[in-house]
Amino acid sequence: MGNGILRHIGHFIILVVIQVMILNNIRFGGYINPYVYVLFVLLLPVDIPGWLLLLSSFGMGLTIDLFSDTQGMHAAATVLLAFARPGVIRMISGRSDFDPGTVPMVSEMGARWVLLYTMLLVLLHHTLLFFLEIFRFSEFFLTLGRIGLSTGITTIIVFLGFLLLDKPEKRGR
């Protein structure tokens, strides 16, 4: 368990560095911005206590806010993602009893499950984030387009992250 906590802290640091130093500086076709740091929240164990899930997501969002001049927007979107996570997990797996310590990974849940899980939660996160960013509805369709495109790109990168971090030997435990 102690090892697991260290691994999640490692994810946190690496994802913040990747997001702030690389992805915030890349512009795909003008206005598509992938926010891959949500992978940190998606990777937390299924049976994590609710308060820890919410607080660590809030911390992640605030850290990204600090480095990209967006006051509270990422915090708000990430907390919403964390709040919806248990519900989404129950909904797409059709059950709520998991072995203690189960992590949402391709080797444990299957590729289709992970893809659907990522897409739904990233869509929710990006929707709140992009509407908070413009803070008005006058550019509604442009914003919808940005949400759609960015959700697609983020989902692909996050899914690649899932495949990269997967540990097949863990299945035997």
Binding site: G30, G61, Q71, G72, A76, E133, I134
Partner: protein
């Protein structure tokens, strides 16, 4: 009372969510109130130093381009030195001529963090209050406008880019001096929109747009861009034109911060007039 506590503990996940979400939204709303993001956080110590560190690495990749730009700019400035003018009249003594008193000074600064992909974009400069930069100063490059300083710390300042939904610049058509408002609609960082030019004015693609100098932020006559498309939107009685911006926001490296030495005098006068004083 006991039941209330039990209720809250039972649904603590929801209440904690509500609390954190409220805190985050409050942050957002509070900063929306300040028209100019008074707390743009990259001016603070940790983030400022972090951006400087990463900029010191990425600087090397643009050295070639920056060198070329600097030498072009040098050549242009050389044309204005006294050595490049032939003195024909030996009778006039021009040293510290009181006919010309200096109004604008320019502080050179380097962009250490920048974005163009969001709806509201900000950038950070490597100079701050120590170097004489104050909030509300204009930021330009040698061809084009860049933004307005929002917030300064000792060593850094954060700038609201022109690519921001609250930014409007008063622009003037160079050929006939008509004034319009320039703003960014959020699509392409190379294009802006010019509005409020009356329809009787002759406006065609290729016209040159410069700053009006009506605000104390930008000096008059700074090149902004050229008109590329003109239309009258349904129901409007003024032109809406698309403008190709001269500034390439995606490759900004060195910028000049405008210091208006007569800012205080001008503002004092305007406040006095608007307050009804004679």
């Amino acid at each position: 009372m006991r039941n209330l506590f039990r209720f809250i503990i039972r649904y603590y996940f929801f209440f904690l969510f509500l609390l954190l979400e409220t805190v985050a939204i409050l942050f957002v709303v509070q900063h929306q109130h300040y028209q100019r993001a008074r707390f743009a956080s990259s001016a603070n110590f940790v983030a400022g130093n972090f951006h400087r560190m990463s900029s010191s690495i990425t600087d090397y990749f643009s050295l070639r381009r920056v060198n070329r730009q600097l030498s072009e700019e040098n050549a242009r400035l050389l044309e204005f030195t006294t050595e490049s003018f032939l003195k024909t009249d030996r009778q006039v003594f021009t040293y510290r001529d009181t006919l010309y008193s200096r109004r604008f000074r320019y502080i050179n600064a380097e962009v250490i963090s920048n974005s163009v992909s969001r709806r509201d974009n900000y950038m950070t400069l490597n100079k701050g209050s120590k170097h004489g930069i104050k909030p509300d100063m204009g930021v330009i490059t040698f061809n084009g406008v860049v933004g307005i300083v929002a917030n300064v710390s000792e060593n850094f300042s954060s700038v609201i880019s022109f690519l921001h939904k609250d930014m409007q610049i008063s622009a003037r058509l160079q050929k006939n001096d008509h004034i319009g408002t320039l703003l960014w609609e959020g699509n392409d960082y190379r294009k802006a929109t010019l509005t409020y030019i009356p329809t009787h004015v002759e406006l065609i693609p290729g016209d040159t747009l410069v700053t009006s100098g009506f605000s104390v932020i930008f000096p008059p006559g700074i090149f902004i861009g050229t008109i590329s498309e003109v239309e009258i939107r349904l129901g409007d009685n003024y032109f809406t034109a698309e403008v190709d911006l001269a500034t390439d926001f995606n490759s900004l490296k060195f910028v000049q911060v405008v210091q208006d030495l007569m800012n205080e005098e001008l503002q004092q006068l305007e406040v006095q007039t608007q307050a009804g004083g004679r």
